[in-house]
Symmetry: C2
Subunit: 511 residues, 2 copies
């Protein structure tokens, strides 16, 4: 029996999965921690807890905390606290910020090592009309080629993977085992608006002191590739700034303060045209390269090792799959696959997330809008910083006479980088290898997460993602997370849970 066929047995059918013994053997070869009998017991507990774990995800999805809409934020923090207590964290506290509250919790089992875990309890906005089932109902649906999935807002981003991590703690306790490492949980409710206050949480003296004891910090993830079950170990991520550029008659002193009849355009200036003119100066004519004065000063080119890693990843990943998933026929400048991946990892961007001005409904309406807004995100690469980029944007606009255009930053954080040779990254690679998962080390995620809060001063820790399992549709309709996989290469919820168990043991024992 090969590993693959065993794993087929594991995921194809829940009844098979729950028989336990056959699937347990998947995790036995090469285990580095002492009592492999422990693992069998923990797995049994994870399987027995499957229904409770699914319900834990569903109940959590039913409470959508959305910072952008100030929706259920305090409730969300309370719920997060209850989840932490329920999973065995002994000290759990709500951490106020200038924005929405975070949560800090510790689980001290007297182990030698400490591990940091980052959670977000917030989710992205959603429009129920775009969904195939109500996004808060977290329905279990048969998704052809994937298996049984939970469909709901936050399913994969990030409640499903986070709940899989909590399930690992429940399984350890149910099996009568202690966590192999002590845990520090830091959690925020503003990840989806760019984590504007998360640094306030981690820099509280007692939280900072707890984090500084840790080997590193991971955010639970469920990003196994549906094609080969592979996982990326990312050595960092781009930074992000989210902001609105606002042109208005009120600030400008020209144009109208509110929407007026469009026939007035012949004698009245237009804030919408002003916004367009300002936007045009920010990028090259193809819209692809930032043209803000001095914007590339701090950009560090890819190292030889980073290019090597991208080259290896390019061979493992399917360009056709990527294009299909994105609905894209060609990359910028018709770049070949490896060059497109290099661009993705190495280039800062200025993206228009949204344009809003005047009349936005069906058909037309003859107004001259008093206000025009571009929703923008900037993605930053090392060694750019959020503060420097925002200052350069402001200076660039000012220099061109656009002093009136507001730059309203709603959130963001610096790029993050973690050493390939850190204990955290090596433990991830060891765990994935033992679990039979094809791994690609990737120099930098093009997406962003507030890892810089951990990797930068004052915390200064390795940080990354870890997790088996699969979901997709983050920020989109019909977001899902696989709980029972019909794909032999991808784990379901129990497999993801056991992945965290393995990883914690690996962190406990790695040299």
């Amino acid at each position: 029996m090969t590993n693959t066929s065993k794993r087929t047995g594991l995921v194809q059918d829940r009844r098979t999965l729950l028989t336990g013994a056959a699937t347990f053997t998947l995790f036995t070869p090469g285990l580095t921690f002492a009592a492999s009998g422990d693992l069998a017991a923990v797995r049994k507990a994870a399987e027995a807890g499957f229904d409770a774990s699914v319900k834990r995800i569903q109940d959590w999805i039913a409470l959508p905390s959305i910072a952008a809409e100030n929706r259920d934020m305090d409730k969300g923090a309370d719920y997060m606290m209850a989840l932490a207590r329920d999973a065995g964290f002994q000290q759990v506290e709500k951490v106020p910020t200038d924005g929405h509250p975070g949560v800090f919790a510790t689980l001290d089992v007297g182990a030698k090592r400490w591990m940091g875990i980052y959670f977000m309890y917030d989710v992205k906005q959603f429009d129920p009309a775009e969904w195939s089932s109500p996004p808060l109902e977290a329905r279990i649906v048969d998704k052809p080629g994937f298996g049984k999935v939970i469909v709901g807002r936050g399913a994969v981003n990030q409640k499903g993977p986070e709940a899989a991590f909590l399930a690992a703690l429940h399984a350890l306790r149910a099996a009568g085992r202690k966590s192999p490492v002590n845990l520090v949980l830091v959690c925020e409710g503003e990840e989806e608006i760019g984590s504007p206050h998360f640094h306030q949480i981690v820099s509280r003296p007692h939280i900072l002191a707890a984090l500084k004891r840790c080997e590193g910090v991971v955010i639970p993830a469920g990003w196994q590739s549906p094609s080969n079950g592979g996982v990326s170990v990312n050595l960092g991520a781009k930074g992000i700034v989210e902001l609105e550029l606002v042109a208005s008659g009120a600030k400008w002193g020209r144009g109208p303060r509110t929407d007026i009849h469009s026939s007035e355009k012949a004698r009245v200036d237009s804030p919408a045209w002003r916004l367009v003119q300002a936007l045009t100066t920010l990028v090259t004519p193809d819209g692809n390269t930032p043209a803000i004065d001095g914007y590339f000063e701090k950009v560090r080119p890819l190292t030889a090792r980073e290019r090597e890693l991208i080259g290896l990843a390019a061979q493992r990943m399917s360009e056709a799959d990527a294009k299909r998933a994105l609905g894209v026929d060609r990359w910028i400048d018709d770049l070949p696959w490896e060059k497109a991946l290099e661009r993705l990892a190495s280039q800062p961007t200025i993206n228009i997330e949204g344009l809003v001005s005047g009349y936005t409904g069906p058909g037309g309406k003859t107004v001259l809008p008093g206000r025009a807004v571009a929703k923008i995100d900037l993605r930053l690469v090392p060694n750019m910083t959020m503060a420097d980029c925002v200052a350069k944007l402001r200076a660039h606009l000012d220099k061109r006479g656009f002093q009136d255009i507001e730059v309203n930053v709603s959130g963001g954080y610096d790029p993050t980088e973690t050493d390939e040779n850190s204990r955290l990254i090596r433990a991830e690679l060891n765990s994935y290898k033992r679990l039979g998962v094809e791994t690609s080390v990737y120099p930098r995620l093009a997406g962003s997460w507030p890892g810089a809060v951990f990797t930068s001063a004052p915390v200064g820790l390795p940080a990354g993602q870890f997790g088996l399992g699969h979901g997709s549709g983050a920020h989109a309709p019909n977001e899902y997370y696989v709980i029972e996989s019909s794909n032999p290469k991808v784990e379901g919820l129990v497999g993801a849970t056991m992945g965290y168990v393995d990883f914690l043991y690996e962190i406990a024992s790695i040299r």
Copy 2:
């Protein structure tokens, strides 16, 4: 007793207004038609019909026909037909078009002359949340400084003034009088989307033949100035083209077909940036002058007479009032009042009505939109034509490589001009003068109406607006129309009704 004090009596209080005799004298001096006793009887009938006339407006507002939303269009045409029959039109027919139906009606009293009347039965879109009272309830509200007004969508644009015209026909009949002229009514339901099919209505042979008998065509209006009761007689109006410019991954062959995660910007082109780049080429850097290749070729500069008329209007009108009403501190290029008015009348415009792309809700959302739309209106001056302008826009974009940007025209019409010495304009001036209303002859309305359908081939008639009374808020929340004026310089519904009676007699008798 001066005219003004009499008119104060007329409008200050409905009870006074309904006493009749004192107010009737306002209209007697200088009447050109024979039986001035007729007028007293008609006025009594108009006053007696006040409640019915108000209800006619309210009931009409309760049925909002909105072409952009395909809302109640056929019902609206049927309702219009019933209103025409009720007012005495003998022949009333629905006129199908490639879009929404129009209405054609005639009232043949065997008079020597025929007059054309243009109605629109559609109204602009509305958002009830923005209104102080439900926009379809047509509530009667005391508006300080104005009097009793009907608040509702379509109140002034154009149901109130149109209903005042119908009230004139009802009053004539109730007083046992025939209309002094025969009438041709042409009506459409697509004015608010740029009258894309109105030419199909007027070019039907029997409708065209009926129109060609007319002295001219007027649309009822209620635009007396609240400051001095003055009215403009407009010798024309700008043309308009409404269109959407659409950039999309689907058409472009670059960028995504749908919204994707914004981190992809580093390797994927952006339709939103493409739209911004294309827009930038359409106007001068200040956003104020069209920069489409060859766009000014057909633009006819103001004549000496037109400049003279604007100069006279500038003296009569208050710049401060205009700026206050618009919420504007300065005109384009800080032009002085008269030059701003010249610019308003003489310059073609390219206006952004709306921008829509990607995420448009509160806060941000990290998407790279697959589609971006600019809602645009072009205002045309003589001798520009809609067809030529759209062709030049297309050629301009194509020449710059923007072949993929869609130009989706939803409606529009050419500019319209009517001879100052036509019988229609002279009759308007005579009526206004007799009614004691300060009149300013204005060369060209910056707004647009489908008058070109009448002034151009094949119809070729003088066309304009006529009406006393006041309302405002067209296309905006809390649109209103005054039914009982507390402003001594402005007429209410009965005064507006009697204005139409006077005008019809004037058309009947003018040399």
